[in-house]
Symmetry: C2
Subunit: 323 residues, 2 copies
């Protein structure tokens, strides 16, 4: 199987919305009238972002999901993507699974594969996504105001919990491990919630490096601080909610996983108190749980409180590839 056979067999489909798709030097495409492009790119490296044993269907899903999550964080609607793939060899079983997981998620979001590149090399998946937003309506990191409520979507900490179990640092009941592993290997990008929050959220980011790190980007860009009431985060770890599993995550693990775990692909966002019902409406219309966990403050810095309102020392670190 040669390079072009590989593309034809696993990735090429007739262009849908694009004028020219796979098979020319460039894809040709235009956003809708009155819209701006939202562009993002994420690279996944074997052994760094995923284990070599991962199911290729889940990996295909995740490779696109982490990119769609960036579009969600700006309130953009996914439209098209490009895939660059370095492969040690052309393994047909692996490619069939990978393309299946990738294209199923792409179809679910009507996000068209319009081009890419394949080469031999250590396994590396690099995707660039394009979405569109009505001009001037992208939700950026820089709009948080003192007094705004602070929210997170969905669940936090499960991917890190699964990673720690893979590393042998914590032992989990099978049902908890399976639930956490699914969150790590097949995250759900919060695309519908992101779009529903246009006009409501004042600032937003996706949580890829850990809540504290990604919230830190919002605080820095907006020139504000925040406090988090960790008592409100008690039920945010999905894997700890398996019915009747009789297991409780040790509190020190739970806080570490939720505050600095990373790989969550949830949204952290801010909105003024007068927008609480609009936030709830966005959560309902997108069928995505949303939890208010704190508030934006004029004073810079991030303060953590425990459930009793006492300050917690912030010893949590977000993920940095070169730290």
């Amino acid at each position: 199987m040669g390079e072009f056979d590989l593309i034809d067999r696993f990735f090429k489909r007739p262009p849908h919305r694009a004028t020219v798709g796979i098979g020319d030097d460039c894809a040709i495409w235009a956003p809708s009238a009155g819209h701006q492009l939202a562009l993002s790119t994420d690279m996944l490296v074997e052994g760094r972002h995923f284990l070599s044993t991962v199911d290729p269907v889940r990996l295909g899903h995740k490779a696109l999901a982490v990119n769609l999550s960036d579009l969600a964080a700006c309130g953009a609607t996914p439209r098209a993507f490009l895939l660059s793939l370095a492969l040690p060899r052309a393994d047909e079983d692996w490619l069939a699974g990978f393309s299946q997981g990738l294209l199923a998620l792409a179809d679910a979001h009507q996000c068209e594969l319009v081009g890419g590149d394949t080469t031999q090399g250590p396994l590396n998946i690099s995707i660039t996504v394009m979405g569109e937003v009505p001009a001037g309506q992208a939700i950026l990191r820089r709009g948080a105001q003192a007094g705004d409520d602070l929210y997170v979507s969905g669940h936090l900490g499960d991917a890190r919990l699964a990673l720690e179990a893979f590393r042998g640092r914590i032992s989990l009941p099978q049902a908890v491990f399976d639930a956490a592993r699914l969150r790590m290997e097949a995250p759900t990008p919060r695309v519908a919630l992101g779009q529903a929050l246009r006009g409501t959220a004042t600032a937003m980011a996706d949580i890829s490096d850990g809540l504290l790190g990604d919230l830190g980007h919002i605080l820095q860009a907006s020139g504000v601080g925040a406090f988090i009431d960790t008592g409100r985060m008690n039920r945010l770890m999905a894997s700890a909610e398996q019915p009747n599993n009789g297991w409780t995550c040790p509190p020190e693990w739970a806080l570490t996983c939720m505050l600095s775990g990373g790989d969550d692909y949830e949204l952290v966002f801010t909105a003024p108190p007068c927008a609480q019902s609009a936030v709830q409406a966005a959560a309902l219309s997108s069928q995505t749980p949303v939890t208010r966990i704190g508030q934006i403050t004029a004073a810079p810095g991030l303060v953590l409180h425990d459930a009793a309102g006492h300050p917690l020392p912030n010893t949590f670190r977000s993920f940095d590839h070169f730290a």
Copy 2:
């Protein structure tokens, strides 16, 4: 040096034309009114696309150049790009050189770095470029007509000659080697020529896998054949033109390098005979040499002639990463 310091120090500059550049979840950007986007992506892997000993300034140049070459092949004007970088470690000297070469070429083409991703891993450079073309004017592979003249830009075969010298399969005088190596390590994307050929060329592709392979894409997409008069290609290898070097490339090497060498980043294009003066005007305005090497035929297949008009057996193969 952490991940975000690395980005700030070597890659982040104030947004120019983009509404939002590096530092949010997405870049926000829109093509000019009445234009379509041209999108392309290329991934470069150490040991596969470049030697580990290459000067990082040249590598930064080449990583963007091969992407700009795809825009050139559609007649698009470069506007913005995203860079994903997997690095074994944050080597400041390497990063300084790489970003210098990359951003110098970007500035020369007013092509803005609007986002990216950095991670740890085996050295891998993945760039996605965006250009724009007036709606409907992109030059595609599928427009070649029987009777059209067949042209190539610039010089062919030098990158392959340098590679063969690196491999020890051919011995070159120093001046020839230096000239060939420069073409391999710092190719010139033919952006101005590509744009100048809008409305004139009927089909175009860039030559990255070798002339015969990339011309083959045009023939297949257009449903036509071609013949090439190799006698017209005598002076196409730049490194064989060093003044007074007293060296002549052995003819069998010259043809292999020019026909199937690859890594040339020249343009191969077709235009009707009535457009010969328009092609020459485009060559002049873009200061890019152009050579007419053959013709498009209604009969499928590719026929090679030697200088005396005799058929040559076509035993040349283009590059395939998985063949």
